[in-house]
Every structure is written in structure tokens, then in C-alpha cells.
């Protein structure tokens, strides 16, 4: 598959503050690529540089073989941007908004009308097309926002947090639209989100970004397999190096390390975690255990602690998914 987007050593600085620190990745034609990271990680800045909204401090971006700096106009014709904000004119109808954005990309006459009708069908808003956008629900506005990025049939679509503040029904509709655009029209899509479920569902590959850097980049399957059989968080009154070494040596355990995070985070694990009790985690140490097989590892860990008479203050078993991968890699939750 040819490469549609190549990003090399991309850097963005504001004064001394480096927002993006030498990011490199590439996206193949027809791929849905995820940029996963918490708010403030630098996802939007990367997208802004890739779409020509911001000038990079250093590095190169090539789209469809064109350099974003040298051939900005050609690159911009290939791109479609759906920004995180509802970048629309609220008092205009959905149709008028789409016609305006279509004209900006050079569409006129019958072609413009056909494209507008097409994208209205894609986002299922044909019947409300002539109503002012300000009368729409949040989810409908999001769908018009997406349609405005699609009207000129871009080869590469950037979707920047497209489901923020959207009701479940509209969110599902957005997912379906993204999948159909990719499957039926072969559109390449860069999808940024801090919702790992969305990236897992939609993307073939993803880059996990934290503090302006890519900390992991692979297929979703391979990223999850980084955790092997899962991750177990073991709460202990204290954990020294000897304890960590002995835990690491247990059967079905790949490695054990001290988690540099406050114990309170355990109580917020939600549906992804199983805890021994519902009490807030006590103060102490949290040991993160990467398991080859989580159930067998739990049995071995409890046996070891009983044998050494070490009290267990909490136990959390994290399912292997992108959330736990991010937690494993950064010691932070995605939505902090």
C-alpha cells in the first residue's frame, strides 16, 4: 500500500516550551490510523501541523508526496479536517454551511449540489438540511461538523476528537460513518481521541502519545499484547527491591515494578477493574505486575504474600486493552 502521510521528526515549540518533540510516523493509503493520548498530549498540535494550520518548528510532513511547506495548496486539497470544535456557522442551515465549505475547495454548480447531498446522506441529516445548525442537538452538530470536512472528498481525513460531548446514538452513527468511508470509499483517516475504546474499534494501527512524544506505535493487537496476559496492581503497605525481585520471579509473571502513581487511582478503575473491596485504596505502595497469564499470576502472588505474611491492601486486575497499555507505559490514566 502506498503511503499517504509521512511525518518525520516533527517539532513544535512555543518559546522554550516544546509541545511536540520530534514525532515521526506514517499512514498508508486506506488505513484508519489512531492518535491516542490524554488531553494536552499534543495530538491536536500534530494534526494542526499536518493540515497546514500551524507551521512546524522543525521536521517535515508529506501528504500524497507533497510537502506541506512547499506545496501547501496541493496538500490542502487532499486533506479534510474535522476540528474538535464545532467549526460551523450556527445561524446558517446545514446545507448553506456545506455549500460554503464546498465552494472554498473549488466545487461549483451541479458537482457542489451532488457532493452536499452525498455528505448529508452519509451523516443522515438530509431531512434537516435546511434548518439552521443552531437548532440541532449536540450530536447532529457534530455530524454536520464531520460532513463539512468530507464535502470535497478528501483522500486523507483528519478527525480530531469527533465524539466529544456526543450522545451514544450520534456516537454510534459517527463510528458507522467512519467505517463506511474507509471501507466503501477507501478514505484514509487519522482519528485522534482520548477514548481508547474508539481507537480500538476503528483503527488498524495507533500511536500512543504522551507529553508531545510517541511512546508506542503499532497495530492495536500488538499494542495490547505488550501487556501479555494482563496487568495486576497489587497494593502493599510497602514494597522494597527484594519484594519486587521475588514477585518478578513468580511463575506466570513477566515483570513487577513500583507504580509511580497515587493509590487513590485504584478506586477509579471502574468497569475495567476488579477490586477486592470497594473501600478507597490505602496509602502504601502499588506494585504493577505484568502477567503472562493473569489468573494464574494472581494465585501465585497471593500465595507468595501469605507465605511472607505480607498483608494485601488492594488487588486490581486490568483487562488487556489500550487503556491498560497507556497506564502501563506512562503510569497515568488516559482521562486524567
Amino acid at each position: 500500500m502506498p503511503v499517504i502521510l509521512e511525518v518525520e521528526n516533527l517539532v513544535k515549540k512555543y518559546g522554550d516550551y516544546e509541545v511536540v518533540k520530534g514525532v515521526s510516523f506514517s499512514v498508508q493509503e486506506g488505513e484508519v490510523f489512531g492518535l491516542l493520548g490524554p488531553n494536552g498530549a499534543g495530538k491536536t498540535t500534530i494534526i494542526s501541523m499536518a493540515t497546514g494550520v500551524l507551521a512546524p518548528t522543525a521536521g517535515t510532513v508529506r501528504i500524497g508526496g507533497y510537502d506541506i511547506r512547499r506545496d501547501a495548496r496541493q496538500v490542502k486539497r487532499l486533506n479534510g479536517l474535522v476540528p474538535q470544535d464545532l467549526a460551523l456557522y450556527p445561524s446558517l442551515s446545514a446545507r448553506s454551511n456545506l455549500e460554503f465549505f464546498g465552494r472554498i475547495y473549488g466545487l461549483r454548480g451541479r458537482e457542489l449540489k451532488e457532493r452536499v447531498e452525498d455528505v448529508l446522506r452519509i451523516v443522515a441529516l438530509t431531512e434537516r438540511a435546511d434548518k439552521p445548525v443552531e437548532t440541532f442537538s449536540g450530536g447532529m452538530k457534530r455530524r454536520v461538523n464531520i460532513a463539512a470536512g468530507l464535502v470535497h472528498q478528501p483522500r486523507l481525513l483528519f478527525l480530531d476528537e469527533p465524539t466529544v460531548g456526543v450522545d451514544p446514538q450520534s456516537r454510534n452513527h459517527i463510528f458507522e460513518s467512519v467505517m463506511r468511508l474507509n471501507r466503501e470509499r477507501g478514505m484514509s483517516i487519522i482519528y485522534t481521541s482520548h477514548y481508547m475504546e474508539e481507537v480500538e474499534l476503528l483503527c488498524c494501527r495507533a500511536a500512543i502519545i504522551d507529553q508531545g512524544q510517541i511512546i508506542a506505535l503499532d497495530t492495536i493487537k500488538n499494542l495490547i499484547e505488550l501487556l501479555g496476559g494482563g496487568v495486576i496492581h497489587v497494593g502493599l503497605p510497602r514494597a522494597d527491591d527484594a519484594t519486587l525481585a521475588e514477585l518478578s520471579a513468580l511463575p506466570a509473571v513477566k515483570e513487577a515494578s513500583l507504580l509511580p502513581m497515587p493509590g487513590a487511582a485504584l478506586a477509579e478503575a471502574g468497569s475495567l477493574a476488579t477490586t477486592l473491596d470497594s473501600q478507597p485504596a490505602p496509602a502504601g505502595s502499588i506494585v504493577q505486575v505484568v502477567a503472562e497469564h493473569s489468573q494464574q499470576a494472581v494465585v501465585n502472588i497471593i500465595g507468595y504474600l501469605n507465605q511472607r505474611d505480607i498483608p494485601l491492601t488492594s488487588l486490581e486486575i486490568l483487562e488487556p486493552n489500550l487503556e491498560s497499555v497507556f497506564l502501563h507505559l506512562t503510569g497515568k490514566k488516559l482521562r486524567e
Binding site: S48, G52, V53, K76, L81, L92, S96, F100, F101, Y105
Partner: protein, 422 residues
């Protein structure tokens, strides 16, 4: 070509947005019309009332003369708008009318008036007055003196012609018919020449104001030529708040970011917005001045080109000031309020709040005159007034247009330096 098409797209989008903003349209179009009409209407009514009061002098008229001069005086008296003339058959009837207070005065034209004038002999017209209305009586007397003077000129000229012809001996062999024809022909030539001299005098007295400018047209028309353009200028500058808040809203909602990712330059986006608001500003002027002309007979002057130049210059200055406010304000709301406050303050200083002719600061000396010259409003109203009230030419208002364009360029350059597109 692509840039031009994009520009048209942005202009069209902006106009759609403006048209949907009913409140904004009300401020830009309805409010100046209402305010202008509210001030102009009572002025017109007052003027009409004053005019009616002047013509309500009732006089009686008795014409005992059957000759041409008596008829001529009756025609002249009846043509005077200040008098309401009632014809009587007898002197007694006219006297009774005055005695009963039905008439202020009675004019009696004697039976031998024409004959006496023809004979170049003294003759008088009697004016009987009501002693309880001495002021009205003196007005009627004054008017009659003026009328008689006019008629007397005919008599004097005719007598002169006859004397010259008789003294020259030309008419010695002529028949009576030939003599009358010659007299009439000479009289016609002289009176035509006299009429022409009155219309185009070689020496004329002209009223001037203290600045040495000729005052023409009615005073009310001149006031309207200040009132309506001043309101137009004041409300054109309310566009400042609209331009700036709409631009900042687009930045706040991420539209400018989206447009930055599209193949359209930031310059085209800004220019499109400016052109759209300039069209609205020009429409404001056209609507307000057309209505003022139709409803209040406001003079428009003699230079449509000058009006177009000044209108475009004001429109450019207002939209550029809007960009400047957008560059300096932080939020759309702040920009909107700043635009509104600037609109009122600059209009007040510049003489564009036309409460009375005393607010024409652009014609004043001193501090207010100086401050007025610092505002675009002052120059704009001065230029409009010059064109409409003083019949200035397009060339004569070019200095004001140039100052307005200079201010616009300054606002634009500072805005371009300061404005953050994304």
C-alpha cells in the same frame, strides 16, 4: 481567478449571515431611519405651521378701475401668498368688513388709476386699516407699496417712451394704431430687458456665512443635509462591533482554524468579510439618503460621483476599524461592546450625533473643531455636507476621502500586525 472565486464565496456567506441577523439589520437600517425621521418630522411640521401663519392676513379689495393697471394690481395682490384676498363690489362693503374685524385692511383701487398713470399724473391707492391691528396694517401697506412700485414702473416706462417718441417727431405722420403699436413694441422690449436684468443682475447681494461660504437652498434643506448623512455615518460605524465580533466568533468556534486547513488564504477570508460589510455600509447610505430625499426633500447636491467616493471611503474606514478592534479585543462580546462604545464616542466628537446644527463640530473652530478632525466621523460628515448642502464637487471632497482612506489603511495595517488568525 481562484482567489476571486473564493472571495465571492466568502462575501456571499457573510451576506447570508448578516441577513439572518435581524437585530443587527434593525440597528443598521431601521434605527437611523427612525431617528432621522423623528428629528426631521417635527422640523418640517414647524416650518409648515410658520408658513401658514404668514399668509393668514385677510384683506378686502375693491377695484373701481376698468383699465389695465387696476386689473394688473388685482392680479399681483392675489398672487401674494401672505395675503388672503376677498374682492368687494363697493367701498362701503370693504369698510364694513374691516370694521367688523373680518379683514385686517381694505384696498381701494380708484376708478381713474389707469387713466392717471397713462397721463403721467399722480394717483393714489387707498388702504383702509383696522386700528386695533397696526402691525398687520403696516404689513399690508408695505406689500401694497411694493405692488404699486412694480405697476408704477410700467407707467413710468410707458410715459417715457411716449415722451421720447413725441419729442423726436417720429410719430408726427403716424396714425393712432401705428403709434400704439410702436409704444407697445418699445414697452415690451424694455420690460423684457428689465425682467432679464432682475433674473441675472450684474450686481447682486449674496448672503454668506462667517466662513465666507455661500448659503444656498432652504435652511431646512441644509439642516437635513447634515442630519441624515450624520446619522448614516454614525450607524455605518456600528458595523465596527459587528465585524470584530463576527471575526472573533469565527476564531472562537474554530472556523478560522478549519479555513486555515483549506486552500484559501487568510487575506481572502478577511477581505471577503470587509467587502460584505462595505456593501452593507453603502446600502445604509443609499437607503437613508433616498428616504430622506423622498420624504423630506433633502438636497443631494450635484455630484453623485463625490457621494460614491465618500461613501466607499467611510465604509472602508469603518470595516478596517472593525478589524482593528478584533485584533485588540479578546472575546466577541468584548469586541461588540467596544465597537458600540467607539461608535457613540467617535460620533459624538465627530459631530455625527445631529441633535441640532450646533453639533456640526467639523465646521467649528477651537477644541471641538480640532477633536472632530481626529475622527473619521468628522471628515465623513464634512464631506457629505459639502457635497449635499454646498454643492461641492467630487474633487473638492477628495481631501476628506483621502484622510478617511489613510485612517482606514492605518487601522488595517495595525490590525494585520496584531490579529492572530488561529
Amino acid at each position: 481567478m481562484v482567489g476571486m472565486r473564493n472571495l465571492v464565496s466568502v462575501v456571499w456567506k457573510e451576506i447570508q449571515l448578516i441577513v439572518r441577523d435581524r437585530g443587527g439589520l434593525g440597528v443598521l437600517f431601521l434605527l437611523p431611519v427612525l431617528m432621522g425621521s423623528l428629528i426631521a418630522g417635527p422640523n418640517v411640521m414647524y416650518a409648515r405651521e410658520s408658513e401658514q401663519a404668514a399668509i393668514l392676513l385677510e384683506v378686502g379689495l375693491v377695484n373701481q378701475d376698468q383699465g389695465p393697471y387696476g386689473v394688473e394690481i388685482v392680479r399681483a395682490v392675489r398672487g401674494i401668498k401672505e395675503l388672503s384676498v376677498r374682492l368687494h363690489d363697493s367701498v362701503a362693503e370693504a369698510e364694513e368688513s374691516v370694521a367688523q374685524g373680518k379683514a385686517t385692511a381694505a384696498i381701494v383701487i380708484p376708478a381713474d388709476l389707469s387713466a392717471m398713470i397713462e397721463a403721467y399724473l399722480p394717483v393714489s391707492i387707498e388702504v383702509m386699516v383696522d386700528p386695533v391691528e397696526p402691525e398687520s396694517a403696516s404689513i399690508v401697506t408695505g406689500i401694497m407699496n411694493h405692488v404699486v412700485d412694480e405697476v408704477a414702473i410700467w407707467g413710468e416706462v410707458q410715459h417715457g417712451i411716449r415722451s421720447i417718441l413725441e419729442d423726436s417727431g417720429i410719430l408726427r405722420e403716424a396714425s393712432e394704431g401705428q403709434r400704439r403699436a410702436l409704444e407697445a413694441q418699445s414697452l415690451g422690449v424694455i420690460m423684457t430687458t428689465l425682467g432679464e436684468m432682475r433674473r441675472n443682475p450684474l450686481i447682486a447681494v449674496v448672503s454668506e456665512d462667517v466662513a465666507g461660504e455661500v448659503i444656498g437652498g432652504s435652511l431646512l434643506g441644509q439642516y437635513f443635509a447634515y442630519l441624515f448623512p450624520a446619522f448614516a455615518v454614525m450607524f455605518i460605524f456600528f458595523i465596527v462591533g459587528m465585524v470584530s465580533s463576527s471575526l472573533l466568533s469565527e476564531r472562537e468556534t474554530g472556523v478560522l482554524r478549519r479555513l486555515s486547513a483549506a486552500p484559501i488564504s487568510p487575506g481572502t477570508v478577511i477581505a471577503g468579510k470587509m467587502v460584505a460589510y462595505m456593501i452593507i455600509a453603502c446600502l445604509q447610505v443609499v437607503v437613508l439618503l433616498t428616504l430622506a430625499k423622498a420624504a423630506f426633500d433633502m438636497p443631494l447636491g450635484k455630484s453623485p460621483v463625490g457621494l460614491a467616493i465618500v461613501t466607499l471611503s467611510v465604509a472602508f474606514a469603518a470595516t478596517a476599524l472593525g478589524l482593528l478592534v478584533a485584533a485588540l479585543a479578546k472575546t466577541p462580546k468584548q469586541a461588540d461592546s467596544t465597537g458600540m462604545v467607539l461608535g457613540f464616542v467617535l460620533a459624538g466628537i465627530g459631530g455625527a450625533i445631529p441633535i441640532s446644527p450646533s453639533t456640526m463640530f467639523f465646521r467649528s473652530e477651537g477644541l471641538m473643531g480640532f477633536l472632530s478632525q481626529l475622527t473619521p466621523h468628522g471628515h465623513a460628515v464634512k464631506a457629505f455636507y459639502g457635497l449635499m448642502a454646498e454643492n461641492a464637487t467630487a474633487v473638492e471632497v477628495l481631501p476628506q476621502a483621502a484622510i478617511l482612506l489613510g485612517m482606514a489603511a492605518l487601522f488595517f495595517l495595525v490590525a494585520r500586525w496584531r490579529f492572530r488568525f488561529v
